[in-house]
Point group: C2
Chain length 936, copies 2
């Protein structure tokens, strides 16, 4: 094996690296190499690769063999390119040393500037620049940066030494009043000389060694410091918080110094090639006259706008505008730049893809297509999930800096992004009552249950003490796009006293709080929110999205309201309509379902169910109408019956009275319904096996509604879905019952209604035996919530106790992402692929979709597209995210598959329940070996 | 397609069918054909196939086309063979019509004899036999049997008509006193003639038609009656109770009549070729002189023993002995025979494999090998699981007929067979206390928990109101072979009043009850039990079993006591040692584990664990000693922590006091431990991920014990097993921790101990990703209890509510057997095969076993053998069953694979933990398409 190359040089319009080598050279190194190659004015230098950092840590903090030689060779080369020598007492080469990983990491080491200055070379710099004060100032800056940043001496100690000189010498010399601050620039050459002596003495005292007078020794000290910073606590924490995994290490960039602090025709700046807030094609940035980068960070002086920079130094500004144009043309992407002007000459120090607001992301993408810089596919590919989320959800106005600090109470799990603000109430009933009085309400609960749905809907936002991102509260709230924070474990809720405490702060019923669903932060009081406004460019992008994707996007919706809303967000049908939520919609309904549960024989159950029939029929009519022309997949009853009955004595007594039973009978029945593991209990189609009359009522409601709406001219495509199937015999039995009931109604109503009967694939057994099961199903819908729970043996309600450790790469690090949020592709994904393959082997025409929470997760949607599904189904607010992900999957597959795959079409597809096509076979095949979600 | 043949004739030493056609001809028809062919004296006749019955029901109770013609053709043939004609007024052919399915079904239709008698042919019979009374008696019997059995007239009405003649005519004629009973034989010819008239009148009144005088009409009436009886309620119930599925239907046998009631040189009998109770090679049976089969059933006269038959009719007896010899030589199996002697000539009417007691099964099998009738393999193959169970478990003495009837209380689920009798106690503590006073105790609980284990162990038997065959009570009791009845839902237990009620019967604390674990019946009082005594032949068979099998049998044992016991039953190591049961062994231990759970930091947890360390070390030493020379697989902690803490206020207060915490702290911690679905919660290796100190303590205990025992000369082979693994990364982390801890101890103790580290495969994900997981495991052990729960999405604790419907073939009929008892081969089995295949693909040397409850189920063990496992592990009492099943699988595979497979060896294998070999590849391959457990 050839020895790896550890160092890449750039300078003089030549570079060993390039912009595509971000992984190896870090973002900064790659940018410098690329800018050099395309002829931009970049000071010469070289980059030590991220691989060296990786080897350094793998090898017990030792550099790989050959590194020292390679670096010193590149130093020589740099000296040749620049015509200067490190430590040269007449004209020394000075360099900056900066870290730079593949992804931007603010937690990393800061820059060391002016490296190469020694007691001797500082004289050379003074001579060469004719500016002794500048040279001395550069030297004292270097000692301070090197001493603190590289060697770990407290910055305060240097500041203290500087202050001492200022106070005891400069103030006296200038005779300044006590009230006047002594500025850095007030210090003169002599005083700087004295300060340098003091700094060196401080260095020796702290480090027990003289400040190094050999520039090579300085260089290795700085390099070591950069690598050391990779494993500093703050860097590790940053990577953990940002979920950055698999980043190898940091590179080290050694670049010839240029000086922005050489007078008024010098300066330094930071800019974006377009406005990162609005996306407008407008040059945007700050410039600081006569300053080094360090001064910008220190915030000592206020920078000027680019328009003022143009006025101040039109020549330099013109150079910068040329660079802007070159870079945008080259990268075809908005860039974030750092530059320095040294005596009228522009030098580029950094370029990278600029961060932007969600609105700007859409605007820039669309504009660049208009400008013919990029294709529509590229535009679509650049939009991130968070961009879509960002433009939909209201946000806390971040200009309230003070309030964000002072009003912070506690942090929970960011279940649904956005922000909400309202008065705290601790019961769903009270929340609903207050909302009816036009109060803005936040519902605060230990946990929520289906009975709380009314109050949850009435609330602006929901806060719970327990549960994860897929807890009841989170799932329901997500469906509505309603801000929700869950698992806020520090929250001590006292229902009796109607208050909660957290971090020593008490909030009582009726007091305002503000939730930031994007961060999980909870604040006291009523913070100002910024409302979402959909930019026009959003509509343009989504049009392109729909043109390019091959997989349909449906929605999970249980009410006509949700259905209508989801249609507006682009849903092409309903992939999951949960019938049981309808039972909680009114007192009358919940009483009827409870009566059914308490009934002791089939006849009484039928009587109770008959009461529900008109309600369900009406609900389905509304949903069919809202989904006119689109398929509606309706799942028969799924949750265990104990979820519908009251568990408290008062509730049971009331129920007993209402249904004409004794309290004891009701209590016993409820007790009898108790289950050790309800997830794996008497639920799903097991209920309809035991109580066929429930199936009969539900199918009657569905088909009756379908007939009625068909008669009114609505195009109705009902798809009846049987949950929790484990076997073909079971499904065959239920399919027969469904068809018998449905066909009888259709015959009686004398109207043509075509319906499908299909099944959820949500037990591992169903996926394993999908070939047998397919024989009795028109369609499969993967219920990945339950499938994940069973395949992993993890209850999502209980996983909060251990799953965080499983995701944390510094603990177990088993999963890269929460498998309840983002599909476990290696495990559950394998079952899905098996299920699809086996299902289609038995029935090639089988329609296949997904209706778990994963249908709204970008990575999971892409997996589903590649696995060959016909559609994904997401909660209404996630529909745009799913559409985008499906489009991005199609684009990526097209790119890797070459011609023959559907390109962006100019025509808008006709709406209607046409057969969802399979993803192209090329795409489907690709998934044979997808990247595992699990880290190995 | 050629038309199926519906009728098979036999007679005159020729038969169209044979003994191998039981499925098609039924047991009786096949036996008659075979006996005819081998030259035994069988009356001629023909058999209508079971297929006709099947078609009859599939075709809306219509006979298949061509049947009538075929039957009538065979009637002609029979007339030709016998030289008699149906209905012939001078010498009529008479036949019997009998049902006969492939398996014996006592619930089916009885026999109709003497068919063919009419008003005319009865005269011919009288003339031919010269015995008018005999002929008339035969006719009245026929009318009665045909009228009642075929036409459904109440038998009592015929009896009543008969009694009337007897009382009004015969009694008067004979002038019998009122106290003397009139016998059937007292009735004379005239009276029989009158009786026949009365019977015919009764028939006409009931059926509205004359009694048929056409023998062919009679024949079709009888055939229809036989087919009709197949779907009679009692037959359906019988099949359900006996779990007979897939039996097509019944055959109909039409056989020429022979008469045992033609005088003292005639008679009828039933016999076994060997003693069915003891297995002795001794002719065994009953003979009734001058009688028809019907009389035996009616129990009118007492039969004589065969020895008396020999004395009574040595010539006929000699014929019978010859038949006995011929049949045993032919079938090489003990036979159950029915025969009739007609005027000194023997006729065989039935032969089938004879039912026998468990002890007889062993004795007969061994004797037949000694007699060179069968091979050892055949002997082994003939032993049934129930034979082994039967000789181990005590049983209720069935001679207590009256008590079994009068003392019956209630029926529950037969969880562990055997019988037990003792005084009722309702708490484990009280049960233990009374057992210490030498009382025999039955523990009666709503359900049991790990805290009850002491009381369960002390009890003779266990009775619970809830739970299924794999509930805590059942699993624990099975491990001890202790009689246990669970899920006795009618049991209303009142802990407060210390009593239970069921079916209106009240039993108080201290009163005796008797449990029949084999039937699930509970009786009042102290019934007499019969103790088990292992016959010598058992030992012989088990020696052969061990010689022939290729798969090892280990045991699930948690204590030195269990381990020793299992060794005696033939266990070759421990496949599952559950460490957590040890925690409940004393107050001190449970307090330490609770202290560990309540601890709020790692240090305090370690302090509490340190208290447990010496206990666990001692336990492991005992187990290693008991398993000297064999592998011991020890599973690290598995159950969720809430199983160890008290859930009642009193218990929590006591705990708080003991560990120096406040009650509130303890209460909160317990509440915090609560889980929605504990099965899928914070348990298994997830606990050791969160609390590595538990792993450290347990590994320290295991390896320290191993070192100590090794020093004492014991051969120790510890295998440390990590439960509930889902991913290779997770296992790698824990494997590393185990090895680090273990190696440090071994190094310190300076003794050579070789240990293995492996994993349970009990989540679907682990099976799916077994190739990756195998990289970090020396062995796999399939935990099929949990694997079944997760694959099917069924909690075994909750399945009682719906699983019965899933198993009932008249309801959902999804599973043939309870998947928690007998492995779901289609679903879970597929995952197991995937796991084995993938595991061995990555590591061919991987040792693989099973340690779920299925390891003690015969069918499941056979599946595991064929899937290529190295061993199965069963609870101690199931070890012999598992050994037998493994041997039978090897024999069956050898039979189908031909030479090259290991034959029975003469040498006894050396004990020791030699590497368990894989089942031969031929056998392993065979499992590629095993029969599905699931019915399709």
């Amino acid at each position: 094996m050839a020895k790896a190359k550890f160092v890449y040089s750039f300078g003089n319009k030549e570079a060993e690296g390039s912009g595509s080598m971000k992984e190896l050279l870090g973002g900064k190194g790659a940018g410098l190499a690329e800018m050099t190659m395309i002829g931009l004015p970049v000071p010469a230098g070289f980059t030590i690769t991220t691989e060296v950092c990786d080897l350094y840590y793998k090898n017990g903090k030792k550099y790989p063999a050959g590194l020292v030689e390679e670096v010193e060779k590149h130093v020589k080369k740099l000296e040749k390119t620049t015509g200067k020598k490190l430590g040269d007492p007449s004209d020394p080469l000075l360099v900056s040393v900066r870290s730079g990983a593949a992804v931007s990491m603010p937690g990393m080491m800061e820059t060391i500037l002016n490296l190469g200055l020694t007691d001797k070379s500082v004289e050379g710099l003074a001579k060469k620049t004719g500016n002794k004060r500048f040279a001395l100032d550069a030297y004292r800056r270097f000692i301070m940066m090197y001493g603190s940043t590289a060697m770990g001496i407290s910055r305060e100690k240097f500041d203290h030494a500087f202050d001492q000189i200022k106070e005891t010498v400069t103030r006296k010399r200038l005779k300044l009043a006590a009230s006047v601050k002594v500025g850095d620039t007030d210090v003169n050459e002599d005083e700087l000389g004295a300060l340098i002596s003091n700094f060196k003495a401080l260095y020796k005292k702290e480090i027990k060694k003289d400040f190094p007078q050999d520039p090579i020794e300085q260089l290795w000290g700085a390099i070591g410091a950069v690598f050391g910073s990779w494993m500093a606590d703050k860097a590790i924490t940053y990577r953990k918080v940002e979920k950055l995994v698999g980043v190898k290490g940091t590179a080290v960039n050694i670049v010839q110094m240029v000086f922005g602090n050489m007078g008024s025709n010098s300066g330094t700046g930071v800019c974006f090639t377009r406005d990162p807030n609005t996306g407008e094609n407008k040059f945007y940035g700050d410039y600081l006259v006569n300053a080094q980068g360090e001064d910008v960070v220190a915030g000592i002086r206020t920078p000027i706008k680019l328009s003022d920079f143009e006025k101040h130094d039109p020549k330099a500004y013109k150079q910068l505008c040329a660079v802007r144009k070159t870079l945008e043309t080259h990268y075809k992407e908005m860039q974030d730049l750092e530059f320095t002007v040294e005596e009228g000459t522009l030098y580029m120090l950094q370029c990278r893809t600029g961060k932007r607001s969600p609105a700007a992301a859409f605007k820039i993408a669309v504009d660049m297509v208009t400008e013919k810089l990029i294709s529509k596919e590229t535009a679509v590919s650049r939009i991130k999930t968070s961009d879509i989320e960002g433009i939909f959800y209201p946000a806390i106005d971040k200009s309230q800096v003070q309030q964000l600090k002072s009003e912070f109470i506690v942090n929970g799990i960011d279940a649904v992004p956005g922000a909400a603000c309202g008065k705290v109430y601790f019961s769903a009933a009270k929340a609903e009552e207050m909302a009816d009085l036009n109060e803005k309400v936040i519902l605060v609960r230990k946990e929520t249950s289906p009975e709380d749905v009314g109050g949850m809907h009435a609330a602006q936002g929901i806060l719970t003490a327990t549960g994860g991102k897929t807890s009841h509260a989170a799932v329901v709230a997500r469906g509505w796009g309603k801000c929700c924070i869950v698992g806020c474990e520090k929250l001590e809720i006292d229902y009796a006293k109607k208050m909660f405490k957290a971090n020593g702060i008490t909030v009582k019923e009726g007091e305002f709080i503000t939730l930031d669903g994007s961060s999980g932060n909870v604040y006291k009081g009523e913070l100002k929110l910024v409302a979402p406004k959909l930019p026009e460019s959003y509509q343009t992008i989504m049009k392109w999205v729909d043109e390019v994707r091959t997989v349909k996007v449906r929605t999970n919706a249980d009410t006509p309201y949700d259905a209508t809303h989801a249609r507006k967000l682009g849903a092409e049908g309903i992939g999951l309509c949960r019938t049981e939520h309808m039972f909680f919609d009114s007192e009358e309904r919940i009483l009827a379902i409870r009566e059914m549960i308490i009934a002791d024989n089939s006849q009484n159950r039928k009587k109770a169910l008959a009461k529900l029939l008109p309600f369900q029929t009406k609900d389905f009519e509304g949903i069919f109408k809202a989904m006119d022309g689109y398929g509606v997949t309706i799942r028969l009853i799924d949750p265990p019956l104990h979820e519908f009955v009251p568990h408290d004595e008062a509730g049971q007594k009331a129920l007993a009275k209402a249904v004409g039973k004794t309290f004891e009978e009701v209590r016993q029945r409820v007790e009898q319904l108790h289950e050790a593991n309800p997830m794996l209990g008497h639920r799903g189609c097991r209920l309809t096996i035991t109580y066929p009359e429930i199936l009969e009522m539900q199918v009657t409601a569905i088909i009756t509604a379908a007939c009625k709406q068909t008669k009114k001219g609505v195009k109705v495509y009902p798809e009846i879905m049987i949950p929790l199937v484990v076997d073909a015999v079971e499904l065959a039995l239920l399919e027969k019952q469904v068809r018998k009931t449905a066909d009888a109604i259709i015959a009686k109503q004398a109207v043509k209604v075509t319906y499908l009967v299909g099944t959820m694939i949500e037990t591992p057994r169903a996926a394993l035996l999908a070939d047998q099961i397919a024989g009795h199903a028109d369609f499969f819908s993967f219920g990945t919530n339950d499938l994940t729970q069973m395949t992993l043996g993890m209850s999502r309600d209980d996983a909060g106790k251990f799953l965080p450790d499983y995701i944390d790469e510094n603990k177990a690090g088993v999963f890269r992402l929460d498998p309840f949020q983002s599909l476990d592709q290696a495990g559950v994904g394998l079952l899905i692929k098996t299920g699809i393959e086996k299902g289609r082997s038995a029935k090639p025409s089988l329609k296949i979709g997904i209706c778990g929470e994963h249908g709204g997760d970008s990575e999971s949607v892409k997996f589903c597209c590649r696995a060959g599904m016909n559609y994904v189904s997401a909660s209404p607010f996630r529909v745009p995210v799913a559409r985008l992900a499906a489009a991005q999957a199609a684009i990526a597959d097209k790119a890797s598959a070459g011609p023959g795959v559907k390109a962006v079409k100019k025509t808008v597809k006709k709406a209607g329940p046409k057969k969802e096509k399979k993803a192209t076979s090329t795409a489907a095949k690709k998934t044979a070996s997808p990247k595992a979600t699990t880290k190995k």
